[in-house]
Symmetry: C2
Subunit: 764 residues, 2 copies
């Protein structure tokens, strides 16, 4: 698997990068998204990593946001000041707390194992792709971090005197408890810690993260600590001196288990000294963690690994070369790409083994990597299309993984995390992704299995864990509000999961089924295709001519009353909708905007209503449902300039080269993929449509080095001279041919399109 990373590099090298020497990774600003609930982390990572080394400042009342004070999915928050370690498994941009564990911390002076005591403020943070550094003010220790895919490497610059490296398994972002640790020698520690039940959704979905920790020099002293649950009653009296207390077990080499345990390695340095610490991780076993560590970092030091990881980032980021634009633009763009290259991430160990959620044992990869962290309600919209365009090899392996998950569990994933299905969010996004990938020409997966899975998802109307409400969906063509909350409506409970957001969910099924229908058609399943596609107009049941939105409906066909289309804004709850209001879903039919226009009574009416959303402040760029809205004016020939305007405004107002530079949760790179597409002047129309909406690129030139295997290895060259000062499109030529519409299809693009914009300062 490690070899595979090189193989991957090899592919890119074969692409003939024109500027291999260019340090694209230097444009990455990992602090983007570390505030404003972006939920990204600034720590060191390799692409699609199992391991990260990232500062953990989520604990402590002295912080602005303490993890236990609110729903908090962030191990790092830029405004926080109290750091209690560096976590080695982290989720980027998600909305629920999990992982954020295996905390390492260097300290100097006397040993203080309580994180409240050993924690420190910090300064001089620096971060780039694959690198992070800060100085702990309490100890004046500089910490540098880098990582290979499955191994984190930290370098501690210690002052002379007593120095300690702590490993804390009793603190983390996850809500699960329990770890195990064993000091193997004065240079090695092994153990595990329990994580899981992401979003508090599935208490069964708990599983261990295993690790092996290796120190560059033997410790002079070592030990473990354990804080046990206090005994009560008479035992409390007898155990008085140590009841519930943290006990240090010096030079201890047995297994220690508990909810609050840790390890210390102590050095007595005569001179200022550096110690490097490697942490190899596996979700399968300690043995695999050790194998991962050896395979990826044996005989390599911090500098070697940093160089390798930066090179890997340069290769991947260099798939897109931009010219022009400001320094901020470049940093925003490459950081966006970088964020899309974190999740989905590798799940399999170097030997190919991976965990099957604990409940199903273990799996073994064949000839492709096993991926995990499929936040598909988010990512199906633009992240996976971006991957299909830029990294089709990775996208192919992600699809293969999804099909493997189907084979293992009987269902495609929805929100998969380390082989556990968290059933977070709604819709049937895996169908959308797989079909869409095929339609973009990435077809080297088992299409028979894919068709079988999609049919099962589509046709199973009873006890369908992915598609609650599917029976109504088929019977009525839409999901009525009764399915959502049967106690409110006196409705029946047919044993299915309750539907969250009857309108939203119907729309999601429509989109997924559009992709499914196209896919079936492409496979020659014409009848099936027609049947399924017919279903995708279901959203029209909800169209309310009065409010001009898609309004929740009852089983009897009547609209929900009372009804306010603003209900659901700012993440409040509203019947019919998922994390949004009627406004956020009014146009969420990307597969059939022409149909919607028709339903709404034509382009003028459509544009007018879209204007209402923007002008009256209903557009919420911090979540997915309305993320395509700025592009939708493209469908109204006379108002296309509004897309150019809105997209520019979005880039400038909702994104920035600052910690607050993401509008909200990055959602495993989804918001970043929106930004990356937007800055290239493209946006994928819909799952199942291989068309892109076109707008003004942010850069004067964008060169996409197409994958050789999937696309023949030519370049897409997008030229938009003076784009920085001229936001509006006067002409749009593809391979020299003036285009009437601001659309381009995937095939044309990936055959190596030359795109030329002629821009203007004015929309007129």
């Amino acid at each position: 698997m490690y070899q595979k990373s090189f193989l991957l590099l090899g592919v890119f090298l074969l692409c003939g990068l024109s500027s291999k020497a260019q340090k694209w990774s230097s444009f990455v600003n990992p602090f983007i998204g570390t505030s404003n609930y972006g939920a990204t982390y600034p720590g060191a990572v390799a692409p699609r990593p199992m391991v990260t080394v990232s500062p953990f400042n989520a604990a402590g009342e002295q912080n602005v946001i303490d993890k236990d004070s609110q729903w908090n999915s962030m191990a790092y928050w830029n405004e926080n000041t109290f750091l209690s370690g560096f976590s080695h498994v982290n989720l980027s941009g998600v909305g629920c707390p999990d992982l954020g564990v295996i905390l390492t911390m260097p300290t100097s002076g006397e040993l203080t194992p309580h994180w409240q005591e050993y924690g420190s403020t910090y300064k001089n943070e620096k971060a780039s792709a694959g690198y992070y550094s800060t100085t702990l003010e309490k100890y004046n220790i500089q910490v540098e971090a880098t990582a290979s895919r499955r191994v984190g490497i930290s370098k501690y610059h210690f002052p002379a005197g007593q120095n300690n490296v702590l490993l804390n398994l009793g603190l983390g972002l996850t809500n699960e408890q329990g770890g195990m640790v064993k000091v193997v020698s004065d240079q090695e520690v092994e153990g595990m810690v329990t994580v899981g039940s992401f979003c508090y959704n599935n208490p069964q979905a708990v599983y261990p993260v295993y690790f092996v920790m290796e120190f560059s020099e033997p410790a002079d002293e070592f030990g473990v600590w354990k804080e046990a649950r206090p005994n009560t009653g008479v035992e409390e009296q007898w155990m008085k001196s140590y009841n519930g207390e943290l006990r240090l077990l010096e030079q201890y080499r047995n297994h220690v288990v508990g909810d609050s345990i840790g390890v210390y390695m102590t050095y007595h340095h005569e001179q200022p000294s550096t110690v490097e610490v490697k942490v190899g991780v596996s979700y399968v076993s300690i043995e695999n963690a050790r194998e991962n560590l050896k395979a990826e970092t044996s005989d390599k030091d911090f500098a070697d690994i940093l160089a390798e990881t930066q090179a890997e980032w340069d290769e991947l980021l260099g798939v897109v070369e931009v010219k022009g634009g400001s320094e901020d633009d470049k940093q925003m763009f490459y950081t966006a790409l970088y964020h899309t290259l974190i999740h989905p991430n590798i799940q399999s160990d170097v030997n190919g083994e991976f965990n099957l959620s604990g409940h199903q044992g273990f799996g073994q990869t064949q000839d492709y990597d096993r991926y995990t962290v499929f936040s598909l309600w988010d990512t199906y919209r633009s992240l996976h299309p971006l991957m299909s365009l830029l990294y089709p090899g990775q996208q192919s392996e992600m699809v293969k993984t999804m099909l493997d998950i189907y084979q293992e569990s009987g269902w495609l994933p929805k929100w998969e995390l380390n082989s556990t299905e968290t059933y977070t969010m709604v819709g049937d996004p895996a169908v959308a992704v797989i079909a869409d990938t095929y339609l973009r020409g990435i077809q080297d997966f088992d299409t028979k299995v894919a068709l079988e899975a999609m049919k099962k998802h589509y046709f199973t109307t009873e006890n369908n864990p992915v598609r609650p409400g599917n029976k109504y969906y088929h019977e009525l063509g839409y999901i009525p509000v009764e399915a959502e909350k049967s106690d409110l409506f006196g409705g029946e409970d047919n044993g299915e999961a309750r539907v969250w957001g009857a309108v939203s969910t119907t729309l999601e099924y429509n989109i997924a089924d559009y992709a499914f229908g196209q896919f079936a058609g492409a496979l020659g399943e014409q009848k099936l295709s027609e049947e399924v596609l017919a279903q995708t107009k279901g959203y029209q049941h909800f169209y309310d001519p009065e409010t001009k939105v898609l309004r929740p409906k009852m089983k009897n066909g009547e609209f929900l009353n009372p009804f306010n289309p603003k209900d659901g804004e700012n993440f409040t709850h509203a019947i019919g909708y998922v994390e949004g209001s009627a406004y956020h879903y009014a146009f969420m039919v990307p597969h059939d905007i022409p149909g919607l226009i028709q339903t709404m009574g034509g382009e003028e009416s459509f544009v007018k209503q879209l204007d209402v959303v923007f002008d009256e402040g209903h557009y919420e760029p911090d979540n997915e449902p309305d993320m395509a809205y700025p592009f939708l004016y493209n469908y109204a020939q006379n108002y296309r300039w509004k897309s150019q305007q809105k997209v520019k405004a979005m880039i400038e107002e909702d994104f920035a080269n600052t910690p607050s530079g993401l509008p909200g949760n990055d959602d495993t790179g989804t918001m970043s993929s929106l930004l990356a597409f937007s800055m290239m002047g493209l946006y994928p129309e819909s799952a199942g449509s291989a068309e892109y909406l076109v707008t003004t690129p942010r850069f004067e030139e964008v060169i996409i080095h197409l994958d050789k295997h999937y696309y023949g290895g030519k370049n897409i060259v997008i030229r938009a001279p003076k784009s920085d000062s001229r936001p509006y499109i006067k002409s749009f030529r593809v391979n020299g041919q003036e285009q009437d519409r601001l659309f381009i299809d995937h095939k044309t693009l990936t055959e190596g399109a030359q795109i030329d914009f002629s821009l203007s300062k004015s929309s007129k």
Copy 2:
């Protein structure tokens, strides 16, 4: 190591047992000591076992004694009725809670993982050496248990229907917390559980017990459970449905850790069926637990192992053959021997590895077993002399282990438990045991190391962890009460551990030093011997002519005032004494009873004062200090009949063939060794003296088959015709020669003495 057990058997076979077919094990009543705080257990064991399978009824308010309601060292209490499992590591006869973990439990019907729910009353208990059986009334399941040295084997007789085997790692006698478990397959489970801090003395002394569990048939379903510590605050709201709750993880195959975890294996039996469950244990690792399991029980079923273990018991118990006496007498005698063959027990795995307390890593045996559970304040008095007489090979290995502990830790053990020193009780008993063993002719250990260790113990007057008060002891010849409780006496704190019981501790050092002095003399260290022996009269400083007891003294030589020699009775605290009163220590100078007699003013005065102890109710047979008292009349030529009377009374009044048949804690076989000696008509005079006090045997004939290697393999034959009705000794002949005194030396005995008593009904 398993081979070794056979080797051991071989030795006994070579001894030419006259009645190998005799089932000596059938005389063992394992229920003796399971009430009245005897603290023995009725479960199935092999000799000197690492593993036991014993019913655990220590938990639950419905029981007479609940483990959490008082200081409770018993995993089983005969009067209790609510059984919540079968524990696989147990201590026999100790006074502090520890171990009592790895609980297995068969149930039928629906799975109920809470012990309060799955627990059951039970009936039809049966036990013999190596076998235990009971029927769980709630389920009508008969449980049979047997064990090899490192593997417990249970056989569950299930009714038809759903049946479950539970493994509970969240319940036990130990006060430590934390376990880990993993289902390896539908027929195998592995894990560990934390135990330690015996007597709450040393919170550092925590360590894991590892296990592997093997099932005779694959489970139809399996899973683990985990009850997590509840979260508080906002997380409590989000985790509402499972916060702090017991979660079942079905078909789960990852590691689970926690304070309250367990495993279930479920069967759906069409017919009534049996399932056999083997639990192999190791204190080193799971791998070793598996290796122990394979080596000792591979390809063997319950019946095979039961037969082997019973044969092993028959061989060891058959070293002594008795004739005459009642059935109760025989059961009491062989059960006593059985109890002396439980501790010290094997600590090393079949591959020879053993744990060095966690803090020092691991050890490896060379050519002898590693022993553990050295409760030496108890056992030095009579248990080890009995081992030297009957099982010198085992005694030799125990001494070698003690010397290894010295090499490892710098000090000989005091109260050693699984390589942790618990520093329970007082004195320097290891010195006494090692010297005594040598003086009895068992000399195949490293005497140089032994001498070095004894010198270190004796001469180290500062920071001597084994001998607090040693500086006073050397300076004053005794330990003053100031050393005991410096705050009370305004005394200094010299950094040493406080002395517990200045008088008692002085006496203990005197005894140990007597043995040391004799040992040094035997090694030709004449000067050292004389110096040390001079110190052993130190007890005389305490003699108070007024009260005729050994009375605590101040540094300035004045006696403690006020003073009541009754203080300290019934385990109350008294200055100067350890678990006793002045009466219990007044004669505790076994190494110098003639000197004491002289100090007291002659035999008449001595006897009068001894009579006071017995007649006025100060004799407490439930603890060690006065355990030799019944024999002490032997020193007064005219009152020897009183010993014959008192020993007979002790056997009949303080011991019985019932659960209450031990006077108190068996103290790892110490009380049982007193009984075994007494019933043979012998009692060892003192550590360092190879003499025995002689009294009327309980049996008409006692044949001791002497060890061939150490003693040449002859028999000791003790004949006491009509001993059942004639308690008093008229004549005592050794090898045909009438003896003037009722003493016999170890050398004469072990050369194969023929002893003939002529008995009388009258003491006159």
